[in-house]
């Protein structure tokens, strides 16, 4: 077998099966056209995001929902719950200050499960070390781009109830 044939049979040739002649066809003109195509794709993407938000808006939590009794969650403890008719997981936190807070349990970064670190006032995401303020749900550190969605907690006697929180309009740029 000649040296040339030997070279052709090498593995890297199989992994990159493009002739030298063809490779030179990828010119700067083609690159410019490709960039325009990418631009069109991004424009369509923006349109889809807008269309989805206007035509299929996110479902709000409706009505009042019983979660548990106050005595079921010790100070610094948490209680995971799901609202009837929905699959979104929430956590009810009994803060050391005595307040009750309810947040969505999905991290706003990549939807990992977040948990409350007792005694610190921090909700932590173990996947990429994201931290949220347990008082407000705002991001304290790490990659999460938005605050944790929250529910409003209120009481009827000893029972803890949640309902949709008033949305605060904060633009994310």
């Amino acid at each position: 077998m000649s040296k040339k044939e030997e070279n052709l049979n090498k593995n890297w040739k199989k992994d990159f099966p493009i002739e030298k002649q063809q490779a030179t066809n990828v010119s700067r003109r083609d690159f410019a056209k490709f960039l325009t195509l990418v631009s069109g794709g991004l424009m369509v993407g923006s349109g889809l995001v807008a269309a989805k938000a206007y035509w299929y808006p996110k479902e709000e939590v409706e009505g009042e929902h019983f979660v548990c009794n106050k005595a079921d969650v010790p100070l610094g403890g948490t209680h995971a719950f799901v609202i009837q008719g929905s699959t979104i997981p929430y956590i009810l936190i009994h803060l050391e200050t005595g307040e009750f807070k309810a947040y969505e349990q999905k991290c706003t970064h990549l939807s990992c499960s977040v948990f409350y670190k007792p005694g610190t006032g921090i909700i932590h995401c173990p996947c990429h070390e994201g931290s949220f303020d347990a008082q407000t749900g705002n991001v304290l550190g790490g990659p999460p781009p938005r605050a944790l969605p929250k529910l409003e907690v209120f009481f009827k006697g000893e029972a803890v109830y949640v309902k949709a929180a008033q949305q605060e309009k904060v633009k994310v740029i």
């Binding site: 700067r28 003109r29 690159f31 410019a32 056209k33 960039l35 325009t36 990418v38 631009s39 069109g40 991004l42 424009m43 993407g45 923006s46 349109g47 995001v49 807008a50 989805k52 938000a53 206007y54 808006p57 996110k58 706003t108 781009p145 938005r146 949305q167 309009k169 904060v170 633009k171 994310v172 740029i173």
Partner: protein
């Protein structure tokens, strides 16, 4: 009849090179702005700030039109070869 395209193609290859490089630079700039617009739109959509989505889409559409128009000015190569 001489037109824009013919005179552009007859210009010096160095000039064509500069035009093409500039076009690609502007195209990359446009795409970068569009990526930022899409990122901001997604984040705001997830945060229920839907009023910002239409302006973001319009801006993205405008930048895409700019990209299309710029393709017209892309040199097709110096064809002024000697016979």
């Amino acid at each position: 009849m001489s037109n824009f395209r013919r005179s552009q193609n007859q210009s010096n290859p160095n000039k064509l090179n500069a035009i093409l490089s500039t076009l690609i630079f502007v195209l990359i700039l446009n795409v970068t702005i569009q990526i930022w617009l899409l990122y901001a739109a997604l984040n705001n959509a997830l945060d229920n700030n839907i009023e910002i989505l239409i302006p973001a889409f319009v801006a993205s559409f405008g930048l895409f039109l700019v990209c299309i128009v710029l393709l017209y000015y892309m040199p097709t190569g110096n064809t002024n070869t000697r016979k």
